[in-house]
Symmetry: D2
Subunit: 353 residues, 4 copies
């Protein structure tokens, strides 16, 4: 496998740290350049407020953080962006103009009609937008994006429900982890022994992004899926792992057992291609009454944190409706993991490297 | 106001302690007899694992816990039961046979067709079942019950939504407090930094009980409401206060502003009768984006813990659907408070005293 | 009692909010002016991120926040300062120069030799420094300060241990509440399911301030007490209430029972003068094995949050040493409450009003 | 290396589960027999309330739990006991009489004068008590024990402080994890947003056991060390990892830097013998101000959870005193890990196998 050299924008943030963790031993992506804002010029190990129990891999601890501009990434095949959305838009465009291919976790460009919003198991074909994007914008490079951490688990579970059972409506309530808000993020005085029933802009993002991801490419643009989605987002005192309850309606009766089997058999192109960050099972179904639980199940699966864990599959108000609970690791499957998986797919498909 | 003498079954449990708290300064109900199981014979202050910050009111601390049998309650006008459901059924029947009127928080008799399941703001007329009950069972006394702590807030909010907007469907997700499981209840090792997506038997109870409460008396029995209810119950690391997201559908378009005004104007017989435990507003509506929050809002209102706090009233997937978040204090409005309010209503209506 | 008009610097912060709470119904101090930085010009209710369950008292919610300069406080008899220490020094001096008497919770001036550091039960006589201060600085006004939230409980408990048993050494470990760091303060990602064994500058402050508070006035300055104090400060996931373990050594054998009795009989000038914010018992002693606990005991006593709660009084490594656990509400006794009590004492003693 | 066959008493409890985890891939100890009380006769996977994120290793999930009696362990070379202390005494004696060598985590026999209380880095020579024990009791087998989870970290850190600096006094405050109380253990209603300043019998155990572990064998019995230890034990809302502050006094001045170096160089016989569960460094010293933290540091080291992590090494009240914070994983180093390490040492020294 041809090696790919990667650069990382926003290397010291909470999501940036996940990239460091996940790319430390990647079989063919070598993270060579760390870039930051205020941290530029310092050693990474000194600039970062490291959030994980495992130590910073030594070669990164000693690496110097570079300024976030195209020259810093010279020679790299792909640029991952873990920038905060407020600053991402302009910087990312500068890199694309300079000829770099970006995979961005920021929300700035997610809803641009010519920018693919990728979950490789669901919409690998959306990558073809990249050509139209280059042409339309006159860029040498291009931007691919990955979705909001809350939509990822939901979109993965909805895919087999739509494909196999033609789901017609989705009502979702989330119980989201603290790491979704980054660091410092949610003040402890706000969330201790509490639930906060609101996350700014989150509900709008989830509905819009899900429809784009589940949509189809027609004439160089995405026709969004029309699934009606109602959603209520809540913050709970959990470190990692977004839990979501899903109520869905269908045109015909659905049997929970059958749905469960369909969910756990769901598989996509990344599994076929045996991409290194693709979990054997994108969806793991638990049969116990009281699972999934974020603390116990967020790191499940063959690639820890990349599988969505589903449980409590049962009918809803009648035979034509379904209820289940899903859990998705918000900084792995919901951020760095899906971006890395996207880069792996892009490499295989010839978009980078 | 004629004084009422009360006895309490299950006085040392978590819910029993709430009765002690709430009846300490009641204007016309005097709690005279505390009864318990293993604690019988001991002083209450020594037998109880007291859970509240405020000290045990002195006269209760020094009171002797009596054995849970009818003779212990001689001379009392009403018997509150905070017994665990496993043991409640038989003991409560013994008291009813012996001529006592009970208000029970246990689930044992809630779904008996001739037993009223009371939320005084919603179904004061259900008390008429008591006569049929006495006749059918040949008892001198009778049993009234109050609902599960999770259904209370939901049923109160659904009432104006049904009465004014003819709601046709309710999809609910709960985030329930630890105190709902009693003491010792949920192990800290299970719930710390976690969400548990299951509470045994809870979902079935909520749906069934809500339909009974919202139902109509016909021919000496309740005809349950037919509202379809889908529900997912979760435990979160919060001490008191059940938070619930509600998605509802309606036959016509509903305007969130108008719904909010209807909710906050909701009022019932207890408010008209100015019962001491009736809050001025059964439903308080918050307009801020990020409320209600259990730690901040659970003790809201003119009778702390007796108002349901609603926020985030907004449309759902379209104009004919609605989403909101509600918060209800599970051991006050959801247990002891509603039982005391029921006893107050029963006294006014001539069922006790 | 002559009314006192008060102004408040730093009104929107976490400690500022406590003043609003505590002064809302004060018998003779009327809070008339709220001052702030970025919030100046806004209505208080809109400018503040209100942290408490009880609503903002209406007259404060509607009050306009004024700029933090002397003109804003014209006509006030006392100015409370809840400013962050970084900005307090200069602003407070401006007010003192302009003729105001300040009671400040900020650390900037606490260790100035001519500034009293007050816990009214311990060192009411230190107020005499105010005259020397005015003279030396050529100010018309003056600054009195109150100590760090962690030293307050410790100093109160040490006073009877020093006076009655001549304590010779104190080794202290603290488990401090989140509110001690203000808002937003400690990130939830840092403290959830965790202990942080360090609080910046805290250990130095506690030792120095305790020695000053326990010291004696000689020749217009404080001679600090020489008690050796060893201290380890930790942050724990508790909202309010600093818990501290104390190990102390004595020249002779001490009996835990006798010590407990001496502690609970401790009383000072504020109790003698029946100041409104003086608790009947500055120290409450609990005899149960497992108390004090912050969630249960932080609001104990006749003036909630103003009593230090002590438990587990027992010998240490031998008969001449003692161990106990103490709990002190960090934003009431450790901040606003002690400042208000100081103002009450100053009024009685003729320093203000 | 000769293989050792092991049996496990108390296999379904919280500590029992750690053995399953740690012995799953052990190079020479094969866990062959799981024994339990009420769970006897069931499959382990069905009998256990599994507490860890990683799944139960398959061969154990399918294993049948046997009755806790000697016949069940036939053919085994060593029996680990993770029994609750209430039931351990008699059952363990039955096994010893029947000829088995036990390594027990229960407290029942820890303080018996002829029973070694082992931390292999500190007192490997105490194993010689086993011969005297067999003789005195007329048993074919014997019992070795490992200490309370709170004493382990403390004893390891005290060893180089005693050996190199002749420490004369230790004042300790603990902040202990929930898993130390087993499952269900501490009720969430008791510990959420709280600290409990008491753990039953814990302080007595720590002082006594530390002195025995640090003692010397003389004439077939242990002469306990005379170090005076004062200790205050607290429970905090942390899942795993006991944090302890230590204040110690010395006959001469000690330099924190030098102490830190001595601590991190500490090593024992298990390191020399390269036992598989022996961490490269029994003590890891962190130089950052705010470490160790239980959530970040409890799994440190070459054998995760087996190293004690020390930080904040500094002088105390003067140059002859020292303060530091230590962290020890309570169910690994403080329980199963030290027991397994003891068995490894016993095998090497010819006591088993």
């Amino acid at each position: 496998m041809k090696k790919i050299r990667a650069a990382l924008l926003g290397a010291t943030g909470a999501v940036g740290q996940r990239y460091i963790n996940m790319l430390d031993r990647h079989p063919f992506i070598t993270l060579e350049v760390l870039m930051g804002g205020e941290s530029a010029g310092k050693k990474y190990g000194q600039a970062v407020h490291w959030l994980f129990p495992d130590a910073i891999p030594e070669r990164f601890a000693e690496a110097q953080v570079r300024t976030a501009r195209p020259e810093s990434a010279e020679g790299c095949d792909v640029v991952f962006s873990a920038l905060p959305s407020e600053v991402a838009s302009e910087i990312e465009q500068d890199f694309a103009k300079a000829g770099f291919t970006l995979v961005s976790e920021a929300s700035s460009h997610r809803m641009d009609p010519d920018v693919p919003l990728m979950i490789p198991e669901i919409n690998p074909g959306h990558l073809e937008l990249l050509e139209a994007q280059k042409k339309a914008r006159g860029w040498k490079g291009a931007i691919a994006t990955t979705p909001n951490c809350t939509v990822t688990g939901l979109a993965i579970v909805m895919t087999p429900l739509l494909d196999n059972f033609a789901a017609e409506k989705a009502i979702v309530t989330t119980m989201q982890a603290l790491s979704g808000a980054g660091y410092p993020g949610v003040p402890s005085l706000a969330i201790t022994e509490n639930v906060i029933p609101y996350i700014k802009n989150e509900e709008e993002k989830v509905a819009k992004e899900a429809k784009k991801i589940l949509g189809a490419v027609k004439g160089g643009a995405i026709v969004p899926h029309e699934l009606p989605i109602g959603i209520s987002c809540n913050r709970v005192p959990v470190i990692d792992g977004h839990t979501e309850t899903l109520y869905a309606e269908f045109p015909k009766a659905v049997k929970p057992d059958q749905v469960a089997r369909v969910l756990e058999r769901f598989s996509g192109l990344p599994q076929k291609l045996r991409l290194p960050t693709a979990p054997e099972r994108p969806i793991i179904v638990r049969r116990e009454n009281d699972r999934p639980q974020p603390r116990l199940d967020r790191m499940s699966g063959s690639v820890p944190g990349m599988s969505v864990v589903v449980g409590r599959v049962r009918n809803g108000i009648d035979e034509r409706s379904l209820q289940l609970t899903l859990l998705s690791h918000n900084t792995i499957r919901g951020a760095a993991g899906t971006a890395i998986l996207t880069a792996e797919l892009m490499q295989k498909e010839g978009y980078i490297g």
